[in-house]
Amino acid sequence: MQLIKINIAQEIISQGLQNGADFVEVFVERTQTEGVVFKNSRPEDTQSGTIFGIGIRLIHGEQALYGYTNSTEREELLRITKLLGARIGKPGKETSLNFETLKYPKIPIIKDLEVDVKHKLAHLKKIDDVLRSDARTAQVILNFSKKKQIIEIYNSEGLFATEERPYIRLFHHLVMKDGQLQSEASHGPGAIGGWDYIEKQPFEEVCQTLLKQASTTLYAAPCPPGKMPVIIDNGFGGVIFHEACGHLLETTAVEKKASAFWDKMGEQIAHSALTALDDGTVPGAWGSLSIDDEGMPTQKTTLIENGVLKRFICDRMGEIKTGHKRTGSGRRQSYRFAPASRMRNTYIDKGNYELDDLIASVPDGLYAKKMGGGSVDPSTGQFNFAVQEAYLIKDGKISTPVRGATLIGSGPEVMAKISMVGKNLLMMAGMCGSVSGSIPTTVGQPPIKVDEILVGGQV
C-alpha cells in the first residue's frame, strides 16, 4: 500500500513546477519504532510509536526550499508547496507527469527471526547476568531499539522509488565502582536487519571485553598530556577518519568552501599508505541503503586512493553547486530534514601490517584500544575525540593503562601523518549528527599509526 495517493504527489510536483521550480521532490516516510530499556535487571521502559510525515523540496537554481508536515491532506500539502514556490517568484510551466518505478539491486539484510518479546527480554537478562557477574558492577543498561522505516520518493523527473529499511541495535552500557572509583564501558552493535543479528552476537565475549575495559580504566592513572605517536586500534577507531576527514569530503561543506579539502580534488591530501572508502552497499551493515533518500541507488565510493583525493560524498544539491557527480549519499534522519551529502559505511582500507608491528615501531606513545565519540569543525578541520580505553607504549611494548585521554588536531595534518596501516579491518556502528539530522553510519579501519597527535590529559 502506498503512503500517499499518487495523484496528490503529482499535484504537489505540478504545483511546484508551475511556481517556477527546476526540480520538485516529495519524500514520504512511515516508521514504526520499538524499544526497551533494560535497567536494574528488569525492563524499565518499553515504548513504541509511529513516525509519519511528508517532506516537499523545490530546487530553483542553487536554492533549496523545503517544507514538511504530518498531514496527508491535499490542501495542506499544496499550501506548503505554494508557500515554498512563492520564494521563487517567477512563472513556471504546466506539466503532466507519470511516474516510473525505480528498480534497483537490494542490499542483503539480516533476517528478522519471529521471536516474541519474552524471548528478547530473556536474552537481555542473560547479558545482564554476565555483566553483573563482577561484584564491582554498579549498573548495567541495555538499550534495545528496532525500527522499520518505509520511504517513498516521487520527483519531477518521473521517479518513484520506495524502500523498506529495518534497523536493529543493542547498546550496552556498564558502570563499575570500587570505593570512590567509578568507570564505564559501552558497546553498541547495530545492523540493517532483524533479531537474528542480535542472537548471532558473541554476547559472552562482548561482556568479557566490556568488563575488562571498565576494570582497566577503573584503576588507570590519568593520561599524561602532550604530542606523541598514537596507535589507534581497529573498529571504532575509524571515528578518527570519519570526523577528521569524512565530514570534510561531504559536498555540504565543500559547496560552501567550508572544507579544508574543497579545492584539493586529485591532490595528495593524505599519506600514501592511506586508501579510504564510503560504501553504501555492505550487506547488513548499519550504514547501508539500497537507495539513498533522493532515490538514487547507493554505491561503493573510493574517496582517497593511496593518499590522493578521488571523490567527494555528493548529493543532488552538491552536484548542482559543485559539479561533482552524485554518489548515492543524499541522506536524512526523517521527513523533517532535507537530504544532505552524508557518509554511509566509511572506512580506511586494509594495509600490510600486524598490530604488533605498529606497536613495536613506537618508542614512547599511546595505544588507543577503544575510541569514544568525537566532533569536527569542517571549516577549519579541527577535531577532537575521546579515548575510552588507552595504554602507554614504552619501548615498542604496551605498558600501563591510562584514563581520560583525548586526541585533538586538524584533519588535513593528521591525514598526512597516518604512516602505517594494519591488516585487520573491523567496522562498528554509530550515529552521526549533522545538518540533515542523526543517521546510522558505520565507521571502520584496521589498526593505524599516527606519527604525532596532541593527546589531552592530566598534568
Partner: protein, 437 residues
Amino acid sequence: MKNIMEKVINQVTDQKAQSDLLLCKSKSLKMSSQNGDISEYKVASTQILGIRVIKDDKIGLSYTETFDEESLKFMVKQALQNAEMSSPNPNEKLMDLKGCLSDRLSIPEEEIDIKLKTDRTIELESRVKQGDQRVVAVPYNGYSENEYESIYLSSKGREANYFDKSYNIATSALMDQNGKKSNFDDYSIAHTFLELEWDKVAETALFHARNILEEKPLPTAKYSVMFHHDCLKSLMSCFSHFYSAKSAIDKMNPWGTKVGQEVASRDLTIIDHPLFERSFRTSVFDSEGVERKSLTLIERGVLKSLYHNSVTARTLNTTTTGHAVQNPGGALGIGGTDLIITGQNVKPLPSKYLEVIQMDGLYSGANRVNGNFSVAVKGYVWDKGERSMTFGNITLSGNIMNMLKNVDVVGEILVASTDNSFFSVPLIFPELSIGGT
C-alpha cells in the same frame, strides 16, 4: 485537539488503566543565506501525541504523528501491550492533581513582512563578509522562528497548557590568513523579531574569529581558568545529572548519597530557578503537571536537594520537586530548569588566568559517572587586566567535582548565558591541566 485527547483517555480508562497524554505542536520557518541569496528556506508544521498508560503498576509508552482514528487506537493498543511487558513499579503513578494550569508566553507584535526577514538575513551575511578582508566564507548564516505549543492531560483530571514563540539568528565567520583558518559563530534568541541582536552577532563572530587567527598553543602546565558564561553553562549541563534523583537510583550519580554533605566550596550556592525574572523562558509546571518553584541545590557548599519527579520521590520517600521531564512517548525523566550560581567571600581576580571562549568535544570527552572530562579549548590569556594572547590547539582536563570544591568567587554580579538560561557570578578554577606544547 483536547477532544481527541479526552477520547484517547477514555479508551484507556475503558481498559481499566490510567493514562496521561502529551500533545506537542510546532510551526517553524527557517532560512539561511549563501553568497548573498537565500539558499535554504524551510517551513514546517508538525504534531506528535504521546501516551503513558499505567495498568497493574506497569508502564507502557507509545506515540503517533498521525491522528486518524485508526492510528490513535493503534497507539493505545501498543501502549497497553508495552505495559504488559514491563516490570511492575508501584512507585510510578499519576499525580493526584486536578484543574488547569497555563503558561503562555506570547508577546504581541506587528506582523513582520517576510521580505524584511530575508533582507536582514542576507545583510547579516554581507556584514560578516565585509567585516574583515580575511573572511573567506560564512559557513552558516540563518534566521528561524518557532512556535511551540503543548497540552498535558491526565485521566486524574489535570490539564496544563504551554505556548511559546521565539526568534533566532546565527552567523559564523570563517577566516583564512596564509593558510591558517579560524571559525567562530554566535547567535541571538528573542521573543520578538525586533529584539534580535543582528549587530552583536556579526561583531562577536568577527571579533573572535579575528583573534583565533593569532592563536598559539600554551606550554603543558596547570593554569587558573575562567569559563565564558556559555562554556560554563555547557560544562554544568554536561554533569547536571549529579542533581538527579533518578540517576542516583540508577547508581549513575556520584552525589546520589551525598544530600546534607559538603560537595562544593563553602563560597558557592546553586539554585534551580524555573521562574527567575531574568530568564528567557520561565516554566510554570513540569511534565507531570506539578507547579514549579525555586529549589536550592547547593547552599554554601552543602548539597541540599536532588531533582525529583513523583516516581523518584516515592522511591526515596520524599516529595517531588517539580522536575519531571517527558517527551511524547518517552519515559518519565528528570531535568533542571535555569541554574543560578551565586557566591560569597569574593576574591580579587588573579593577575594571570585563561578565559575559555570555545570548548569542543565536551560530551564525548566527559565521563558522566566520575566527573572527569577533557576538551579542546580556545580562548584568551589575561595578564594584569590585559588580554595578552589568544590560545588554541590545546586540551583542558579536569574533574567537575574537584573543580566545584576548589573554586574562587571573583565577582558579585550575575552574568547570563547568551540564551538567558544560566546565570553565574564570575568564577576562577585554579590548577586545571592544560595539555599543549
